[in-house]
Symmetry: C5
Subunit: 294 residues, 5 copies
């Protein structure tokens, strides 16, 4: 995630990193070339392509309306993913607090297993080696869904504590509620990861955007001449820019510049869990480098 | 579900499967024919149909605004359906974890019954033989709502375990909470299945879209001549495409290309439940074939 | 509710029932007459009313934006009402499952009282005789809010069972949770029923729609001549159609063609409750007649 | 609240009460005067202010989009406020049901205190004398937040009952859940009351609406002449009307024509609580007068 | 927060404080200068830049649609932040009520620690010295996340009370539910604070808005002459105004004029908690100064 909020005046002029420009530079160049071509054609064949601005208004605005919907859906996915990780923070903190009175040994085992859960979830979402990641925190997690196995390990400890009478049934139920919520976070993230927007929808909008941006210069060139490239580029910048941004936000767990900083969030959770377990040799918090937080 | 996210440049040019084109090809051809006709008429009777572009802008944009609403409502249904199946994942995983300490026999019976519930729900939503599907996992489910009967079977086991003192009242309440949530998933899916968008709404938008796309060429032909077919086709592609996509997303449980992969999700749940029950002869996970996951 | 989802080509051409046309035919005829008048006036006084299309675009699009908001709000009410009845299904099914282990006599009494609740709620929402409806299932319900009295009757049974020790306090709390949720369904439905959209809002949009549709022909007639009636009718069809549909969806509990099928849903709940009570003489499920489900 | 739903044809023609017209009549007259002036100027200086319709389309539509957002936010506040009062209905009914088995004396004390809570909340939201209102139902409520003091009084009774063993810990927890939810209703209403939309937002939109409506006639007069006043008035009616309606819905607890009928809702809750407490001398329900329900 | 709701007529004319004008005055002046330049150029080179209004309509409306989305997302963040603080009010009030029967000493310790939590949360969100703030209420909070340490301190008291038998397990679970909800408020606020809208999105819209406002005068000057500066300024006022307002609402915890009044809300919570603890020397409530509440 690029850690900046309000762009400054200088950003407006020159910001390249953190902006969507690197992703659409190629497309912008194609549109620029087509615009120049359109103006040349219009000078050669005046009158033949004039009057076209009104239908382009119609197509362009319809496209804006539908792209706005797609953008909003992609943003909602990104924000929901962020909420799920915030939920994980709530649940791990509360789990740590609600087990504070337990004997240190099983408690540390449970908090360590939760570190395994958190790291495993990150590996799962980023396509890393989930099995190996969880195994670093947990003895021999199951091969099928090792991340969930970490939760089951915590659940096993809780059951044993309840069976020993170390925690009452009500306390057990309270703590199991935390685990169910964490399981909800995992399933929510898996849902976002495995179910992109319907492919046909993205394809339809990409195609319409391309068609529109390639034809627009011909619609404008007859009436506004050499203003065509500038205006076409602005339109192309906005449409392709939002499109590319939507593509990034759609899968918020990747490593692109607008994706969620899973590394930093995982480390934060890990540090809080280890500190709760009484450990003092905490790994360092992950900071942004050049405003980029992974 | 077509398992692709961002379309590539090649997709933009040639993708046919996974796109909405196969569903609207017929309509597009009608519009193309009408466009050609309109241009011919306009050449014959110049001036008679000119100046019409502005009212078409008005109608077209109003239609975009209302179609955007319908599309958004259909997408919300599709996404809610996906959330409900994600919820099912949370609840079955948590049920498995929260029963891990129970004696194997009743536990396996319950987890098997849950397999029946999951498969029965899929059959119910896809119009397959629900009774037979559930009966494969459960002895003699009731004829009225066999899927719910599977949940009742699990509930019966829980009650017996509670009566025997094998689980405390609090633990029973915790596990019943899982069943209530699963019942919520079933009722939610039934709601989406049985209650489409108001028919009058879909009909109104379909009709307006048709009227608009058939009249638009006559509005444009007078001023832009042979550009008419191209621009009309783009408009028709966008409007009919979104319309057809909305139709598909509206009932997310079918077997069309943009519907949810219920087969794969059911199998995933089944595998996790059976593995939790200690079974090792798991049925294989269902993979996408040619990017198509059922 | 009209039970159809995707309109067919034939529907597009001739569907009358299930469509919004019967509700707006009168208004459409007024607009048609005004359109013809406008064209005649325009032929008599050419130039005097030309050039007006642009302000009409402005008004028409603003109106579309605001009508889209109203439509979306009305649809949300309709869908929320449907969700509440789905919630009722969850809660009654779960109540039946969670009481399966109880002695038959009080259980049947409670399930019968729930039938009274469900039927009473329907009567309350549709303006039927609530007191008589509930009295068919329940001995002498209170005059003030008989539907809630049915829930109180179930609560009385639960308290008695808890006092006798037949159910534990935890089980009682679990079952009371179901009743609280059912009470929530009732209050939610009452809210939708008793609180329409602000009257001033509906009035404002109706008035603007009328003014717009009556003036539009005069704005168009100067430039597009005899195309005016056709285009005005399409605009009028879309605007008045959405308006009339919004009116229907705003109160989803009525008996109009797009309202919720409360009769069928009530019967479904009744059948499931009676079957759970061990009854075999179930009343028949209500089917759609001519695609119309009440 | 003006208790009408669908406006009739007669309403469309003459409804004044319940409409937004009384609130914007002054502004409409200003716009009418400016319109006439613009036409006179345009006749004097033809050509000087022509061609301006297109930029006004741009400004007008942008304004519509942003006003639609504000309207939607204001409506959400109004509807959320209504939902909170519906929640209060759920919680008081459930509290009454869940305490039905208690001894009459403490139960009546608790239900009476809840009447104090409900009336106090209304007084707090409408700026009446909260302290005196609560004191009518409760001995000596605290000066700091008397409405919450009523809830604390109920909580005190519950604690005493639990300490005496009259209710179990689980039952106490169940009933406390009701109080927590009521506390949530109070805090939600206070939030809506104390936090209007950002002032800068309302100010920005009001100013733009004024500027737009005052300049629009000059943009139109050159091309459409004496149609200017009519069309300007329609635009002004829609924009100022929605603006004024937004102002009313923004604070839904006032006494304006579109505000929530807190008097009637409070009385309804009071009647149900008193009837549950066994009282038969209920105060009369509040009916609408001339369609106006306070 | 600027504590005003409906602007008066006078506000419309002269309000400067509380409005967004101070933030965009510089940009408005740039646009005014460019507008004048454009008119001068247009007089020199008539015809060369005419006809450009239509593409600007397209760009301007697309921009409006996308800015509306950003504005809506920023407003949602602001309103969610307000809801979270309202939630804190619910939870602290309920905690105070649910501990009313406890012995005064531990209760006062817990309520004081909650004061530390509330103040620490404010310090954390506003970038003040969190450690020192919490330490004023709590002996030696942990260095890593002192605000959460305050909750852990309360949890420690609760565990001790449960271990002593002073509160039952069920009561402990009820109170722990309050703490979990408060932890949720903290994590929610941290989420809003640490995750702004994607930087690329804000940058894209800022850039498009600038490009649009700088080019618009050239598009208009040819046809509307000296009306250009006025209309360009209105557009610029609306677009830059909404943009600047979005920037403010995006981070609702700051000290700008439209941010949430965290000082006042913290003090309110503190006063209610101290009063519940039996203290009478309450710090004074914070009032608005010149309509400005911090």
């Amino acid at each position: 995630m690029y850690v900046r909020s309000t762009p400054t005046l200088l950003d407006l002029l020159i910001a390249w990193r953190g902006s969507i420009l690197p992703y659409i530079a190629g497309r912008a160049m194609v549109v620029a070339a087509v615009s120049v071509l359109a103006v040349l054609v219009a000078h050669r064949l005046p009158g033949d392509i004039g009057g076209g601005a009104v239908p382009f208004t119609l197509i362009g605005l319809s496209l804006s309306i539908f792209m706005s919907f797609r953008n909003s859906a992609c943003y909602d996915r990104w924000w929901e993913a962020r909420k799920l990780w915030g939920q994980l923070l709530i649940e791990t903190r509360s789990f740590a607090r609600q087990t504070a009175h337990l004997p240190p040994a099983p408690r540390e085992a449970m908090l360590t297993a939760l570190c395994g859960f958190v790291n495993g979830l990150k590996a799962r979402l980023r396509g890393d080696d989930e099995q190996a990641t969880v195994a670093a925190w947990l003895p021999a997690p199951a091969a099928l869904n090792p991340t969930d196995a970490a939760l089951r390990e915590v659940g096993r400890h809780l059951s044993a504590l309840a069976a020993d009478g170390a925690i009452s049934e009500v306390r057990h139920s309270l703590l199991e509620g935390r685990l169910t919520a964490m399981s909800g976070v995992q399933a929510g993230c898996e849902r976002i990861k495995s179910t992109p927007l319907p492919f046909a929808y993205s394809l339809l909008l990409h195609r319409t955007a391309w068609l529109f941006c390639l034809l627009l210069p011909f619609g404008l060139a007859g009436s506004i001449g050499w203003w065509t490239p500038a205006l076409s580029l602005i339109v192309c910048y906005t449409f392709f820019g939002l499109d590319a941004l939507g593509d990034q936000l759609e899968d918020p767990f990747g490593r692109e510049v607008n994706d969620l900083p899973l590394d930093a969030m995982t480390r934060l959770l890990e540090r809080e869990l280890l500190a709760a377990a009484g450990r003092t040799d905490l790994p360092p918090a992950i900071e942004a480098r050049d405003h980029l937080l992974m």
